[in-house]
Subunit: 499 residues, 2 copies
């Protein structure tokens, strides 16, 4: 047994460590289709828990789910010029609608379509076109719709969860009568994402708006939540777009207002995806593998009976006791969810380490001694702390222990981010030095910026550093000068290398 | 106001009546993408309820959800010859991975793929290929996986929910060590479908197996549940396939058995889709529009305040009382689900009829008089029966009334089916006469069949009648002769015209 369950360690090779964590936790794997992943049951259960919480939040704020076609006709996609240009390099295109036997009986595409269809990379165009039929009067507004679906973006370099050709997500699309209402919706959904990421995924985030260069194609303004990974790189964890009237004009969403005049509406869109799972892994996992935040964990605990194996006397009694313990624990709840408990009575060597690597928050060991003493030996995944509890006490206390793990993970991530965050660098040399350090990606740097695309481009080219956002808070730039050009600063910008 | 809320009536034009019911209920609509539908919030809420029940049933029988790529490489799809041939005429094919500006700046497909990708019409090949990696030993079996996803079949003639180019479904895929286990799984899932359709959708079904001609491409045996629509046509509502070792051999799923030898596994697959919604509409709706079975209804009831409008005195009090009523009703449960109550305080003329057409099981009217008397006036959608209840009594009784509607709908459908079902016709002339009747599609006919593909083909060509299934029960053919050929019968077959 190596010192750690995952090889290599984070220190040795962060990128490879990540792949191994995903693999050993059995969250996902690559498929035979370029860039498309298979989400395995342990990963999909996590996604279902995330969906369930988010879906509740969307519904509580008045949104309804609907479903729109996976295909977008090329001509429709082209109606918003900036939008189609933004996705043109990564579109999967359907051109034929059947297969035909060609030479040697080999099947080849046949039945060319009159118009190519794009597999949706995002659904603004098809949804806003539909909205142009649904919205006629101010009485139809606001229109608040969400869709859970798959989308396809033909990325050249992929990485499980972080960037895949197909991924699962939700995309909200809303229509409003006024600019103010649309901006308020954009901000409301950003707050929901931030709340979800911090309170459920235990990932601290910074809220802000994107610079012109980093904005969603076709949006007037993109709001983002940015997280800090353990290698010092930033991750964009969710975005909420104020689309102005751009898509309403492209798709002709007009309504008869109270004043009797016909007006173009204002729209928004917002989305989070399976990418959040990548962010969660990179935030919490350690050199022993995955660590799952209890609120979204695929299971809250695993019961591991200590079995004698060969001489099986007493084994049946232990397994029975474990089944009873499982049932009693599953009657408990944490964070509005019944506890989900696994029981692993396999006789595989190293089954304990399999569960460590799967990141289950609690491991409960029960053997002959525990049975006799009426105790359970419980190990927390986050701290590796092992405590022997009287059985009944543990059952009652389990939700409280899970709550403590949830908070511990968040605080640990927050402390880590504070270490990786510099506020602020005003000196260009220090800024360059910070991001040229080889051993770390450099973390977050909050620095004054002149708001000029040229200076932004310069640090991207020199350092692979981008402006992650202009944070919603700390925007006091009075008397400050741009860290890159020395010109008077317009914004405080959060710089980082990013996934 | 016409006599009925839907025009035309079922009698006048059944096909058009169906389209109007879907439209007026705001369940779904056609999109600008050929054959692809948009599922509107009222329809999607119904689908979510259906998913939730089915998903619970799958999990209770040990299945886990996972997610597999939307694309299947052509070479992989071609590994099972019968399978690929079965889907070749309806495959959407992705051939390019980006867009490029051509002449006149027009975007055209670019970046041709080395190998075309099929948008999944079903996922046997991509999932079984994955299973070949997951399954190594008898310890890995059974492997019980389900996927919720979209699929695409390029159908030439489409109809909302019944047959669309893209639809939503679940597909179960399982691997077993023995033929017996795989057959048992196939039958177990058929029973789950039958139970769901009868107990939740209130659609009576007949369970049976398909004839060779109607079998799933690549399966050894296809089990089906068949329902009877109000126009006398049958609908295949769900299928469960015993795949034998065909896909295990094509995808090379082998395992080391207990006896130390390497064996090919046995697989199954089974699915139901948004098509069930079409079946539900055609089973329960009437000339006033949709009727939703309470157990899956998008909402259980709508509260309709009687408002005075112009002279608004008292209106606020009424709306307030309705909000309180809504909250109290929503604390009640029916069929393990909290009641979902809509409150419509709009001042639209004809709002009552809008809700009739949306099929909500109960309409609750509250006006000044009801407020004064402490009553509510409740109309059942299934019977149009209006009852005035003391408010408190109704709140307690609501789940019971919903249960009665659920049963009433099922019984009504069962009675209807009994009327449309003839057991049995043994005479060819009578059989032909039955299906040549112009005013009705002919319903179900149970008749002896010689098991010969030729006789099956003959009635399909002459009458557009197919063998829906060989029912699991009533297979006593001793001394009976085939209704078509007069030869000794091998099976009792259920004949019908079908969707």
């Amino acid at each position: 047994m190596a010192k750690t369950a995952i090889s290599p360690t984070r220190e040795e090779n962060y990128a490879e460590w990540y792949q191994q964590v995903v693999k050993e936790a059995q969250l996902a794997e690559n498929s035979s289709v370029r860039g498309c992943m298979i989400i395995k049951p342990w990963g999909y259960a996590l996604w279902e828990n995330m969906q369930s919480v988010l879906d509740g939040m969307f519904k509580a704020t008045g949104h309804k789910n609907a479903y729109f076609p996976i295909f977008i006709p090329l001509s429709l996609m082209s109606k918003e010029a900036e939008h189609v240009d933004g996705f043109a390099t990564e579109c999967a295109v359907v051109t034929h609608h059947r297969l035909e036997k060609g030479e040697g009986g080999k099947l080849t595409p046949a039945g060319p379509l009159e118009e190519p269809l794009i597999v949706r990379p995002t659904s603004e165009m098809i949804i806003n076109e539909t909205f142009s039929r649904w919205v006629q009067s101010y009485r139809d507004l606001p229109l608040l719709i969400n869709q859970w679906s798959n989308v396809v973006r033909w990325e050249m370099r992929t990485r499980l969860f972080m960037r895949t050709a197909e991924f699962l997500w939700q995309e909200g699309h809303t229509v409003h009568a006024t600019k103010e209402d649309a901006v308020a919706e954009t901000e409301r959904m950003l707050d929901i994402y931030a709340g979800f990421l911090e309170n459920y995924m235990a990932i601290p985030v910074i809220k802000g708006t994107k610079s012109d260069a980093e904005r969603f194609p076709g949006a007037d303004d993109t709001y983002t939540v940015e997280a800090m990974m353990q290698d010092g790189k930033a991750l964009q964890a969710g975005t909420s777009h104020f689309l102005g009237q751009n898509f309403a004009k492209a798709a002709n969403i007009q309504f008869l207002d109270k004043d009797g005049t016909q007006k173009h509406a204002w729209t928004t869109s917002w989305g989070v995806s399976t990418r959040m799972i990548g962010g969660m892994i990179m935030t919490h996992s350690d050199d022993d593998g995955l660590i799952l935040p209890p609120k979204v964990a695929s299971a809250h605990a695993v019961i591991l009976p200590f079995l004698k194996g060969k001489d099986k006397s007493g084994d049946a009694t232990i397994v029975e006791a474990c089944e009873a313990l499982k049932a009693e624990l599953e009657a408990q709840s944490y964070a509005e969810r019944k506890l989900v408990i696994e029981l692993d009575d396999s006789d595989t060597a190293g089954k304990k380490w399999a569960w460590v690597k799967k990141g289950v928050p609690l491991r409960i060991e029960v053997g002959a001694r525990e049975l006799e003493e009426g105790t359970v030996a419980v190990t927390r995944r986050d701290t590796n702390e092992k405590t022997v509890y009287p059985r009944a006490e543990f059952i009652t206390k389990a939700p409280e222990i899970l709550a403590d793990i949830q908070i511990t993970l968040f605080k640990r991530a927050e402390t880590f981010r504070a270490d990786k965050m510099t506020t602020e660098i005003t000196d260009k040399e220090a800024f360059y030095k910070r991001f040229k350090n080889d051993r770390s990606a450099g973390g977050f740097v909050l620095a004054p910026w002149d708001g000029d695309a040229a200076s932004e481009k310069q640090v991207k080219e020199h350092l692979q550093v981008t402006i992650r956002c202009l944070p919603l808070t700390d925007q006091d730039v009075a008397g400050k000068n741009c860290v890159i050009t020395g010109n008077p600063a317009k914004y405080m910008a959060l710089f980082a290398k990013a996934y």
